[in-house]
């Protein structure tokens, strides 16, 4: 394996001592859409992402959770510059992406890849698996033509697909296998960061676990960093070192995984935890569960101040007038809520399940 990805890792780490692999600062993505009005077309703005700051260290997984429309996928795409940000800075390996020309950007993209939610839709149905995985090698001139087939075989082996898959087409594979192909394709260019946009939500549970196993094994082996985007708190919890919770284009809470799951501070995070169905009949019936009312407001006109205040049982006047900053409440635990300390005490949506689980474990 002369061109094996294992080797590539070593040199990559040398190039980057200490500093985070990816830094996102004040990212804003707005879309202008046509509004209503018969004679004078007004314009409205979709506030997809509104001031998001994140960082991902080498070999780290940052989880990004939130409901549909919260801007998590847009954040993921913009981080790769597949989408131009309206404002804000994205720095990858110390380079500001907005300062790069097209060819430099293309060269840098080799190091950051994305895996999409719908594996079957993400693969060209008229290309063989060999062509699909070989394409990035060709585009980035990574492997001489004669060795390309061998490299594709190595990648297939890496993601646990049979070698004879090379000459077959995507439709011959199941959803889980297609996701493996998509992963192999993203690994072909030996990236250091992979954005995983809901990589398992289209798959059945038994297959989900297989893909998650593969992703963690690959991370350990190749030293990858992941931006793991998903709506499933349980899956994100098992995958991530740190987790950011998004609501209506903003990060409302960002913390180390264990800290967040043991004690979510933001009422929205608490509501999310409370809404997750628990696969345990006794626990799910014993839990004091309060379902958050209402729905996510439109991102065309997000509420003033704290964006969750329209659904928050603890909202006060201050929440409508002043936007809460993302502040540290504990070591490495940031929350954007004026009443974070109070929210933990009052616990408006019921005890987080994780606390119950550990409590039950103790009594058992």
């Amino acid at each position: 394996m002369s061109n094996g990805p294992v080797q590539a890792v070593e040199e990559r780490d040398v190039a980057l001592p200490g500093a985070p692999l990816l830094e996102v600062d004040g990212l804003v993505v707005h879309y202008r859409v046509r509004g209503s009005g018969k004679f004078f077309r007004s314009h409205e703005t979709v506030h997809a992402v509104d001031g998001v700051s994140l960082s991902i260290a080498s070999r780290e997984t940052l989880g990004l959770v939130g409901e549909s429309g919260c801007g998590k996928s847009t954040t993921g795409r913009t981080v790769l510059y597949l989408e131009r940000p309206t404002a804000g800075m994205i720095r990858f390996r110390g380079q500001d992406l907005s300062k790069l020309g097209a060819s430099d950007l293309k060269a840098l993209r080799r190091h950051m890849q994305i895996v999409f939610q719908d594996p079957i839709g993400a693969l060209n149905p008229r290309h063989t698996v060999g062509q699909l995985i070989g394409e990035p090698l060709k585009i980035h001139h990574l492997v001489p033509r004669g060795q390309r087939r061998q490299r594709v075989q190595e990648l297939l082996e890496l993601v646990g697909l049979p070698a004879d898959a090379v000459s077959r087409f995507p439709h011959e594979f199941s959803g889980g296998q297609c996701q493996r192909i998509a992963i192999a394709r993203s690994l072909a260019v030996e990236p250091s960061l992979i954005v995983l946009d809901e990589p398992v939500s289209a798959l059945d549970v038994s297959i989900q676990a297989q893909i998650l196993q593969l992703l963690t094994a690959l991370q350990d082996r190749l030293g990858l960093s992941y931006l793991f985007i998903a709506h499933d708190l349980a899956v994100v919890g098992e995958m991530s070192d740190r987790v950011a919770v998004m609501y209506l284009g903003k990060v409302v809470e960002l913390a180390d995984r264990d800290s967040l799951y043991a004690r979510p501070y933001h009422p929205y995070t608490q509501a999310l935890f409370s809404a997750v169905p628990i696969p345990d009949p006794r626990l799910s019936r014993a839990k004091r569960r309060i379902v958050v009312a209402g729905e996510v407001p439109s991102s065309l006109a997000p509420p003033s101040g704290c964006r969750f205040r329209t659904r928050c049982p603890m909202a006060q006047e201050l929440c409508g007038t002043e936007e809460p900053p993302l502040q540290a409440v504990a070591d490495g635990h940031l929350v954007a809520c004026h009443f974070a300390e109070e929210a933990v005490l009052r616990d408006p949506f019921g005890t987080p399940v994780t606390a119950l689980v550990s409590e039950m474990g103790r009594s058992a």
Partner: protein, 346 residues
């Protein structure tokens, strides 16, 4: 908003003893394609009582949705029900005429389909949807139907129903559309509600709201309900009994407590292990079931799960295990069921 689960906090789910509403016996459904036949459901048996919520769990292709559609005799072509009985309130629905079946659908059995975004007609108002149902089944005139529509929308928690009723479906969010569909499903006071993955397209907080709504309706109207889902978390919290399907067959059927406490089929055990759980600390361990679910294009002898089962023996590969009652109200189709002692080691 009532947030208490049925029976109050801390109680365990009780076994529902209401009168039998629906009895499905040995249902067979197959899809005849050009070159092959897919045996989607092979011998499904299932009973629902009034006031009982029966969960049907399985992965995609396990035949759970087809089973639900069979009860309504709505299996899409080229699928056909090739055998079995579906007895609903004493009548075998497979023997009644098309006309009589039309009277049952939507009026005595309500269906909540999977995708709320595509299940409403985009070119007619919410009100017109109700007119259609209420005039067909209950013979209400427009005025009466409109009044009833507003009441129904209010009962499913749509804010400002008198105004919303005049709107077109695209003006409502996904969660609200699902509420409208639920209101339509219960418009004619059905006895049985079939919900086919009612929350798959929705966000978790909205999912929790919708499930709570369905729970409330089942209790208030003493309905029987079949809840089709792939999510064992939903089953745990919102069902009384569960049927686990795999490759068109019932693998295990039990009360919710029995299934989670004493799963006996290796597939159930595997499925329970796979479910992602919220844990206090990260474990980064993922239990998976190796292999893939089969495409059932041949009627074979043997357990369909055998190729993925670590307990499989030669008998499993050659003889189909019958669905046997291993404990009261606990059925399993396995030659080597998991003993309670070796429970899920998770």
């Amino acid at each position: 908003m009532s947030d208490e689960p049925r029976g109050g906090a801390g109680s365990v789910p009780a076994v529902v003893q209401g009168p039998a509403l629906l009895e499905v016996r040995d249902l067979q459904v197959s899809f005849k394609l050009e070159r092959s036949t897919i045996y989607a459901v092979q011998g499904l048996s299932l009973g629902v009582r009034a006031g009982e919520r029966v969960g049907v769990v399985g992965e995609s292709g396990s035949g759970k949705s087809v089973s639900a559609l069979s009860v309504m005799r709505m299996v899409p072509s080229p699928g056909r029900i090739t055998g079995g009985e579906i007895v609903f309130e004493g009548r075998d629905l497979l023997r009644v005429s098309q006309g009589a079946m039309r009277a049952v659908r939507g009026s005595q059995i309500g269906l909540i389909p999977q995708n709320p975004l595509t299940s409403l007609n985009p070119v007619i108002t919410i009100e017109s949807h109700f007119h259609e149902v209420l005039s067909l089944h209950l013979g209400l005139n427009k005025h009466q139907a409109s009044e009833r529509a507003v009441d129904l929308l209010r009962s499913v928690g749509i804010p400002d129903p008198a105004k919303r009723v005049h709107e077109y479906p695209h003006r409502l969010s996904g969660g609200q559309r699902q509420r409208v569909i639920i209101a339509l499903a219960i418009a004619c006071e059905p006895r049985l509600l079939i919900a086919d993955e009612p929350t798959t397209a929705l966000d978790v907080t909205i999912q929790a709201q919708i499930l709570e709504l369905i729970d409330g309706l089942v209790e208030r109207l003493d309905l029987g309900a079949i809840l089709i889902t792939h999510n064992l978390g939903i089953v745990a919290g919102h069902c009384d009994r569960v049927v686990v399907m795999y490759a068109g067959r019932v693998m295990e059927a039990a009360t919710v407590l029995d299934l989670f406490d004493r799963p006996s089929h290796p597939y159930t055990v595997g499925l329970l292990r796979c479910v992602p759980r919220l844990t206090a600390t990260r474990e980064r361990v993922f239990a998976a079931i190796p292999g893939l679910p089969p495409q059932v294009t041949k009627l074979t002898k043997g357990c369909p799960f055998a190729p993925r089962c670590e307990r499989a023996t030669d008998q499993c590969r050659t003889e189909t295990p019958p669905l046997e009652e291993i404990a009261p109200a606990h059925w399993t189709a396995c030659w080597n069921p998991v003993e309670s002692a070796e429970k899920i080691a998770s």
